[in-house]
Symmetry: C2
Subunit: 343 residues, 2 copies
């Protein structure tokens, strides 16, 4: 293998017998050189260990092959799941993804966009905090870089949005819950930062009205990202105080539901559909752990893969045509009902 250390493209040109500009063309697009020279280059590449200097390559580029991916919190399995899918899709498309987590801190979202700016990314896939995101920062960033939003929408900003149709998905599970038992009440955070939470509440209200039932909404105190804890503490409090007016609780997301399930278990309340069950609990998102809760969680599965793929493809579409789309596209995928044992 490596006979001598190749320091730059000049030296590699010398040992491979190919001129430097041709090599430059090859590294930017192997298909742009004649088949025979491509093979000569690749033969030389196997013999000598050389790779173009990333920093020199990008120095004079207005745009690189970097794709920024920003999610609110990688500690949330939902985002690590969808973030991974997006990341892998970028890799297989020949881009260099950079996955950044804002660690639940909106200020870090700003910082992450700032860091990305200096990496001159070709585009960015952003799952924003939503309401607490700094919309001006996002818009300012978007002026320089194409951005496709996913998971959470910020109305009217960036090139496109890809997410789940909360109205469809919530209606689906409300309909199921009504059909299979008592109409559900709705359990959520008091001040949700995520716009999906607001959509889901709205969807719950509309769906209950459509089915001719009276809605009941219960809101948990608490801030931060420790949703299980909030679901456990506040959900548990509501349960022990018998505050819920129905025995079917639809949680705004699975993490709240997971917390509430643990509270129900502690209180010895049997959750589920069968005989002797006094409570039904359902969630939303099909969290990776939802199938291992006790009982396993009935929920709505977001189509992670479809969302990730569409977001990535939308961005690549923009990059390929090299022009921002004139109309802002919003794509909503339907959720699927996942019937398990908790409701």
């Amino acid at each position: 293998m490596a006979q001598q250390k190749i320091r730059n493209m000049e030296e590699f040109a010398a040992v491979s017998g190919i001129s430097r500009p041709t090599l430059s063309k090859y590294f930017n697009d192997p298909g742009s050189v004649r088949r025979s020279t491509r093979q000569r280059i690749e033969t030389a590449l196997e013999q000598y260990d050389y790779r173009p200097n990333v920093f020199a390559v990008n120095q004079n580029r207005a745009r690189t092959k970097n794709i920024g991916i920003v999610v609110p919190n990688l500690a949330d399995p939902f985002f690590s799941e969808i973030g991974s899918k997006v990341e892998l899709a970028c890799i297989s498309a020949g881009y260099s993804p950079i996955l950044l987590s804002s660690h639940g801190n909106p200020a870090l979202e700003r910082d992450n966009l700032e860091s990305l700016r200096s990496l001159k990314p070709a585009g960015v896939l952003l799952a924003p905090f939503g309401r607490v995101s700094d919309q001006k920062d996002i818009e300012s960033f978007n002026r320089d870089v194409p951005v496709v939003l996913f998971d959470a929408n910020v109305e009217g900003t960036c090139e496109a949005f890809v997410g789940t149709n909360n109205f469809q998905s919530v209606d689906l599970i409300v309909e199921y819950l009504c059909r299979s038992g008592e109409p559900p009440c709705f359990f959520e955070m008091k001040s949700p930062t995520n716009p999906n939470a607001n959509k889901r509440r709205q969807a719950y209200l509309e769906s209950m009205a459509r089915h001719g039932h009276t809605p009941h909404i219960y809101r948990a105190e608490g801030d931060g990202w420790n949703f299980e804890d909030i679901g456990s503490a506040e959900g548990g409090r509501f349960l022990s105080e018998r505050a819920f007016r129905t025995d079917t609780v639809l949680c705004s997301n699975d993490r709240l539901a997971i917390g509430m399930l643990s509270a129900a278990y502690r209180q010895g309340k049997r959750v589920g559909l069968g005989e002797g069950c006094e409570l039904r609990i359902a969630g939303h998102d099909d969290h990776p752990f939802a199938r291992y809760t006790c009982p396993s969680l009935t929920t709505i599965a977001q189509d992670y893969a479809a969302i990730a793929n569409r977001a990535v493809n939308t961005l690549f579409g923009i990059l390929d045509t090299d022009q921002r789309p004139s109309i802002r596209e919003e794509t909503l995928f339907d959720g699927k009902l996942v019937m398990r044992d908790s409701a």
Copy 2:
């Protein structure tokens, strides 16, 4: 604010009235210029929006301020937890961390190290797969870049290792389980990729011998990273076949335990210490979800923060002195027993 677009350091020198070499010094170390000029620069920085071009800055550097962080799988909350801590520690030390996940695929670990190589990182913090890591690749990478291993050890490689003392931690929980009831059997994966799993089995055997009990080991079939699934399927099978010779099961890690808990629940087996409980299940790691299982999981808490901090500080120590340490340091932190309801 930004009156005109500053394109490079030359232009910023013009508008700020400071020479370019001085600016260059300032950006590399603000403390290296006189206080008065520093303030003039900073005043200008507030007025004009300029930041040095990252690629140009790093082009001629042998080392950058980048720190690579590589973990086997960010979808595992354990790694997203410890990865985040490491990441934040790097940021507050003034470095630029780049967190990479190998998505459960050892081949990607190799790729990640390759990508990092071209980013000329000052150092790398690596949580390797262990047995299935390509040791030669890691060693080859380590020749060029200082590497501190954490979580999983690869004997004799890299500058240092920081992890948990499995012998202490397993002994701690074995002792507790023996003291509070029946001595435990041990449940693990048949072919664990992680070296900690092997240490834990060994520790279990030694600990049981020390306490004068007969060890029993049960091994689950199955590959991949879906530990909960394996724990649920195989653990459930052992339970329903009454294969375990004791009613206390120590799982090699929390994710297996979480899966087994869900299987026990499905089978209507009450898990815990109290009256009417027929089974005790314990885990290891204090997985972020361990407190929300049903019942909540008795386990060993690894000192995430201590491990992350020590790993980072060890690396920075090497970077500061700018020379590889002559002796390879191994630091093991004790685990803490977390008594919850499952055992």
